[in-house]
Amino acid sequence: MATKVSDKKRARDDWRAGLSEEQLHEILYKLKLCRYFDERIEALYRQGRLPGAIYSGRGQEGTHVGVAYALRKDDSLFPTHRDLSAQLTKGLDLKRVMAQFWGRIDGYTRGRDGNSHIGDWEGNRTWTVMSHLPIAYPPACGAALAYKRRGEDRVAMGICGDGATSNGRWHEALNVSAVYGLPVVWVVNNNRYAYSTPNELEFPVPTIAERAAAYGMPGVRVDGANVLEVFTAAREAVERARSGGGPSLIESVSLRWRGHAGHDPAKYVPKELLEDHMENQDPVSRFEELLRSHDLVDDDHVKRLEERVKDEFEEGYAFALASPFPEAGDVTKGLWVEDGYWRSQPGRGGGTEA
């Protein structure tokens, strides 16, 4: 049965979720970084300075930062294109992320994919995102199977949106993970819209979290605007998985502030709902206010944080534009492992002009 997290009470008693001052500052930094990145990338896209597409996760940073912050570096994360903030929280290098957005050789996919269709398996154990959601859910079961089989105390986390819960693979993966008792945490970033389709046309039950009962696993629904509430639920689920307790489901509710992709003005989202969320349910400003109210940050701290984030973005942007495009002659390389392309340094003679 879905419970509106008993952690709410715990959060009252222990508002900081057992986190150190340094950790709380780190979470604020991640939130600010993800928000700034999202806003600047959209601006560059609208100015025609960014090729390809964008999939904004704005308004959902509480979910992304909250769940990813509960993972260890060697835990694996299987996200979607909406979840770049979770990948940034896991530790992806902003410079290489931006090189990816500009189709450059230093991007994580070496220009073989774009935008947030990104991943860094070797370094941060994140899945290289695909569009066919929730296509990463079954492979998350596979990674978790390997951990369980080898007796490793590692966890796999899958993220998808509310839209993907209508797909058969979501149900297959939840079922299989529970049948085998796999160390998985399933996260649903319920931002209330599957592209333009609202929750009430997606599923006939009040919450996604209560579906967990049918698969024999715990399910909780948390407030995506409250990063510590999300984090607390994620930490509990991760610990359960790590200690052999099997999978859990977390539904984190927020609102998608921007369209499905950069081209979508999202006029189907009621204006009042959006305004209310931006005003009162902003996970970034809410967390900042929380830390301010406990005297853990002040104007000076926030200013320095915002400057740091801006500097990192500018550094990443300059890095991306200076990184060469992949060499056209390498188009067929890297399909087969034995051609060695991915184990060697790629050609850097592609120039910086497309």
Binding site: E122, L145, V337
Partner: protein, 347 residues
């Protein structure tokens, strides 16, 4: 019959080699079981997953006896969830395991199609992360199994980048190629022709490191007049036709592709250079089937060798029908092959 062979026949954890016939011959099915067994003995990372492969031993009993020897963790029964079977294999492979997933029929690979073609096939090119997964299943017709148990899906997977596609016709090739596939760092779709399973036997190498390289065709019968390029069950039909034609003085060469991806164009072209006449024979649908590519390769790169038009023999683009008259009309028959070769050799 030795005690070992008796135990194996009962399927209680004895190796499949014990199921060979008295003279040491293995069926294609037993050769496949031997390959799986030997690779599981060799490499702890190799495990099997699929529907009813454990206690039941698989729909065709390929993995009979495996669960007793290797246990349920390495011979994993799965729920009926093909997308997730492939996804389990992919995720485990990304973490360094060597999964071999069985489909009860290759027809049901379409139930995992997105995971096979979108995720598994494209993953390494986009990420550099190897996905050493083998997907195996019985394909093909000729056993009166109708539309959903007779399909040849190899063109689908050959068309999807990043998957090696293997279609052996003989027990020795099946064993050597499956072992190569399990050791390969790329995803492989291994299609076992169910008509061949218990029909074709031969003495199969026992060396646990015997391998057949993926991507190399094999000339199964040397000849000088006409080349027949085929794979799977059609290789056996071509060989039968060749024997009949030899009595009339027509010397047919039979090239067995063995692998569809990578396609061994060199062996195809050298055979056509020798005979100057090509019959492209295949069991997947004629329209955009495997033979369409083979034909294009010969037309484009072997044009100067040809003394006659290339002939394609393949089923029409309809579902595999059930009734014997219909299925026989659908599948290329030995007589069809003979007629086509006679006509072509008269050019």
């Amino acid at each position: 019959m030795s005690a070992k062979v008796e135990a194996a026949a009962a399927g209680h954890g004895a190796e499949p080699r014990g199921k060979r016939s008295e003279n040491g011959e293995a069926t294609y099915l037993i050769a496949i079981a031997e390959a799986l067994w030997e690779e599981m003995e060799r490499d702890e990372r190799v495990f099997l997953l699929g529907e009813d492969i454990g206690v039941y031993g698989g729909a065709f009993k390929v993995t009979e006896g495996f669960i007793e020897r290797f246990g349920p963790e390495r011979v994993m029964d799965t729920p009926i969830a093909e997308e997730t079977i492939v996804g389990l294999a992919l995720g485990a492979a990304m973490e360094g395991m060597r999964p071999v997933a069985e489909f009860q029929y290759a027809d049901f690979m379409s139930s995992g199609f997105d995971m096979i073609t979108t995720a598994l096939g494209r993953y390494h090119y986009r990420s550099g992360v190897p996905a050493p997964v083998v997907l195996r299943g019985p394909s093909g017709g000729g056993v009166r199994a109708s539309s959903f148990h007779s399909f040849n899906p190899e063109p689908w997977f050959a068309h999807a980048p990043g998957l090696k596609v293997i279609c052996p016709a003989f027990p020795t090739d099946a064993k050597g190629l499956l072992k190569s596939a399990i050791r390969d760092d790329n995803p492989c779709v291994f299609l076992e022709h169910k008509w061949i399973y218990r029909r074709i036997k031969e003495v199969v190498p026992e060396d646990p490191d015997f391998l057949v390289p993926i991507g190399e065709a094999d000339v199964k019968r040397e000849g000088t007049d006409v080349s027949v390029i085929a794979y799977g069950m059609m290789v056996h039909h071509a060989l039968e036709a060749a024997e009949a034609l030899a009595r009339d003085g027509i010397d047919v060469e039979v090239v067995d592709l063995r692998s569809i991806v990578p396609l061994d164009t060199e062996t195809i072209l050298s055979s056509v250079a020798k005979t100057s006449r090509a019959v492209v024979l295949y069991e997947s649908h004629r329209f955009l089937g495997v033979g369409a590519e083979v034909t294009a390769v010969i037309a484009q790169e072997g044009f100067e060798s040809l003394d006659a038009p290339i002939v394609r023999i393949a089923p029409p683009n309809v579902p595999v029908p059930f009734s014997p008259t219909l299925e026989d009309a659908y599948l290329p028959q030995v007589a069809d092959i003979e007629d086509a070769i006679r006509e072509l050799s008269a050019w």
